[in-house]
């Protein structure tokens, strides 16, 4: 099953890359079809794997990675169906694969901690992951924006507007995804602290993961604030969204390097 999913995703990537180099619509369509297929099989496997509380994947790092990969695929498929920026697939599909590979190379089950098994916990994880999926898309849009903007400023025109969305469209997508991401991540933090309060009796524990998440939250909050108040659009916004996502990656993976803390299960 693992290899079927990995194979389907890889085929999708192959066709997206072919589209990048040869610009034939058929490649894009095939790549997209493989992505949808991979997404379906992956989701099915994810859901059918749940047979008891201790088998809920969200309790383990591997499952969270897998869930990220699924949600990223899902949101991107939604975007592409609405005809928006298929070119983002060049970045998104590799990310879907990377997160999937991470999920299958980590130990499938850790120690099951029964105290995690409350309704609030999966809600907290789902909100947070959805938020980060949108942040990833804003990161991708921001990256494209920075590349395209640089090309236009330096007067080297590499991409025709038929292939890469315009600066204004990329900027708007960057903004929209940050809005969505911010909403979800705020809900994620709120549900997380509620749950923490029930479990440990306090809403905030200055756990390293909590602090990093707060930092990410502050970056995106300032993104939205500066955009509304100071007219930060385009390049500055794009840079902020890229920094925000890199910080998230550090929070998510680098956190493992700092020992201790309450949040050490994920």
């Amino acid at each position: 099953m693992k290899f079927l999913i990995l194979g389907t995703y890889s085929m999708s990537l192959l066709f997206y890359l072919l589209h990048l180099f040869f610009n034939l619509r058929i490649f894009l369509k095939t790549g997209f079809s493989f992505l949808c297929l991979g997404f379906l099989i992956h989701t099915l496997k994810f859901i059918t794997g749940i047979t008891s509380p201790s088998s809920i994947p969200l309790y383990y790092m591997s499952g969270v990675m897998s869930f990220f990969s699924i949600l990223l695929g899902c949101v991107f498929i939604g975007y592409q169906i609405r005809g928006l920026v298929p070119a983002l697939g060049y970045i998104t599909v590799p990310a879907v694969i990377l997160f999937y590979i991470a999920s299958i190379s980590l130990p499938q089950r850790g120690v099951f901690r029964p105290e995690l098994n409350t309704l609030l916990f999966p809600i907290h994880v789902t909100f947070s992951i959805t938020g980060y999926v949108f942040f990833f898309l804003s990161f991708a849009a921001g990256l494209f924006y920075l590349l395209q903007e640089r090309n236009i400023k330096l007067k080297i025109l590499r991409w025709s507007p038929k292939r890469i969305p315009s600066l204004v469209e990329l900027d708007f997508m960057n903004y929209r995804t940050v809005q969505f991401g911010f909403t979800f991540i705020t809900l994620g933090i709120l549900t997380g602290s509620l749950w923490s309060e029930r479990l440990w009796g306090s809403v905030w524990n200055w756990d390293p993961k909590e602090v990093l998440a707060l930092l990410v939250w502050i970056i995106y909050a300032s993104y939205l604030h500066l955009r509304l108040i100071a007219g930060w659009k385009g390049r500055k916004s794009a840079i902020l969204s890229v920094i925000g996502f890199i910080l998230f990656l550090i929070a998510f993976f680098g956190r493992k390097l700092i020992p201790g803390g309450y949040h050490d299960f994920i």
Binding site: N23, Q148, I152, K153, K155, L157, W159, S160, P161, G234
Partner: protein, 432 residues
């Protein structure tokens, strides 16, 4: 039945390669002349099928008739009578057979255009073809050639980047605007100055559906004149800076001896624009916009020299893509002829199938009569069986004969039909 014979096809024409502009202008066909000229050619020259393509760069007569090479002189004569001028033979080129088809493919795909890859020509060929089709001057032969030519043009557009890179300064400017803003239908442009280059650029922006055009100039009369042509709005020159706050694209085609827009001006304007990007196009010589303007954030500035450099590179790229296009034309020519040969035996194959089927039906009736009372289910089973036997027996010889037809092995084909084709003979064999 397709009876396409390649030697019956002629392209007689003149283009920017063979004749001066005034000759082409005189030859260009007016709308009201189409009918008359087509009828004249058809009647006087006994032409079966004819399409006339007339654009500003070429006039071509695509003709299908037996021995078309014999009417070339008459075609020139008809045109001389029509325009009342003497025409040199050397102005015209003539392509016959395979060369003619290749020429039609190349013209339709814009490989033969003055500006290689320009998109209009495909549409022009299409409408010339449709005019003839509607009036009954196109039959199955030319329609086969033209339908294929449209397919080839589409394929080349899809598989190469022939039409992708703009080849003129104004279209490059528009494409840059699209790289920044996307859809231009909600965007506003302000044009400074009323020179010829400015007017060309205005037209390009209108063709992409720009929502609003403001024109400003020191000579207000000319600005008003342009505004009435392109339904724009005049802005007094002194209000230029106020205008910059609201527009997305600034096109400067003025002839001032100094900078009209400086870095400081734009810096102040940008504060009021809330970070919305602005695109300056300076096509004036000397520059009328300070090059430093382009260093500001969310401000993009292109000078005419920048645009020219990009366009030169694009044209080079187009030539490279044209080589790929030519290869596709060759490939499609091969396919076209294989199809013609294959389809030529189509009616004969149909005859074979029909003969076999009529035998099957007669025999089946005979059998049912002999068997007497059998159930509908059994009848159907026997009928299916008979159909399958006929299909399977004919399948291999028919596939082989199609292959032979594609390869042009005509002697085998004849043998095949002396065996299978003649109805009486088959019946005789049956009786025997």
């Amino acid at each position: 039945m397709i009876s396409f014979e390649e030697e019956n096809l002629l392209v007689h024409g003149t283009s920017f390669r063979t004749s001066p502009l005034d000759v082409r202008e005189a030859l260009a066909l007016k709308k009201q002349e189409e009918d008359k000229l087509l009828s004249t050619i058809k009647e006087r020259l006994k032409v079966e099928e004819c399409v006339i393509l007339s654009t500003c760069n070429r006039v071509e007569f695509i003709i299908y008739r037996t021995n078309p090479e014999k009417i070339i002189d008459d075609l020139i004569k008809i045109n001389e009578e029509r325009i009342g001028l003497h025409l040199e033979k050397g102005y015209f080129y003539n392509f016959l057979g395979r060369d003619a088809i290749k020429h039609i493919f190349r013209v339709t795909s814009s490989l033969d255009s003055m500006v290689i890859g320009e998109p209009q020509i495909t549409g022009q060929v299409k409408s010339a073809y449709e005019v003839s089709l509607k009036k009954g001057f196109v039959g199955k032969n030319l329609s086969m050639v033209f339908e294929r030519a449209f397919f080839v043009a589409k394929r080349i557009r899809r598989e190469t980047a022939l039409g992708e890179n703009p080849n003129s300064i104004s279209s490059q400017a528009v494409e840059l605007a699209e790289s920044i803003f996307g859809d231009l239908s909600k965007r506003k442009v302000i044009v400074i100055g009323t020179g010829e280059m400015g007017e060309i650029a205005i037209k390009s922006f209108i063709s992409r559906g720009i929502s609003k055009i403001y024109i400003t100039s020191r000579t207000i009369e000319r600005a008003e004149e342009l505004c009435s042509i392109y339904s724009g709005e005049v802005i007094p020159f002194k209000d230029l800076y106020r205008g910059l706050k609201d527009v997305d694209i600034v096109l400067c085609a003025s002839a001032a001896p100094h900078y009209l827009i400086t870095k400081n001006d734009v810096k102040n304007v940008m504060k009021k624009r809330k970070g919305n990007p602005i695109f300056f196009i300076d096509i004036s010589l000397p520059r009328n916009i300070d090059p430093e303007v382009g260093t500001l954030e969310n401000v993009y500035l292109y000078h005419i020299d920048d645009l020219q450099r990009i366009v030169d590179r694009n044209i080079k790229k187009r030539r490279e893509e044209a080589i790929k296009g030519e290869a596709i034309v060759e490939e499609e020519l091969g396919k076209f002829f294989r199809r013609v040969k294959e389809e030529r035996i189509g009616p004969l194959l149909r005859m074979v199938y029909e003969t076999a089927d009529s035998i099957r039906r007669t025999e089946l009736e005979e059998l049912f009569r002999m068997l007497g009372n059998i159930s509908g289910h059994q009848k159907r089973a026997i009928e299916d069986f008979s159909v399958n036997v006929v299909k399977k027996i004919l399948h291999k010889p028919v596939t082989r004969i199609k292959e032979m037809a594609r390869n042009g092995e005509s002697s085998f084909i004849e043998t095949f039909f002396t065996i299978f084709g003649d109805e009486d003979e088959i019946e005789n064999r049956n009786k025997g």
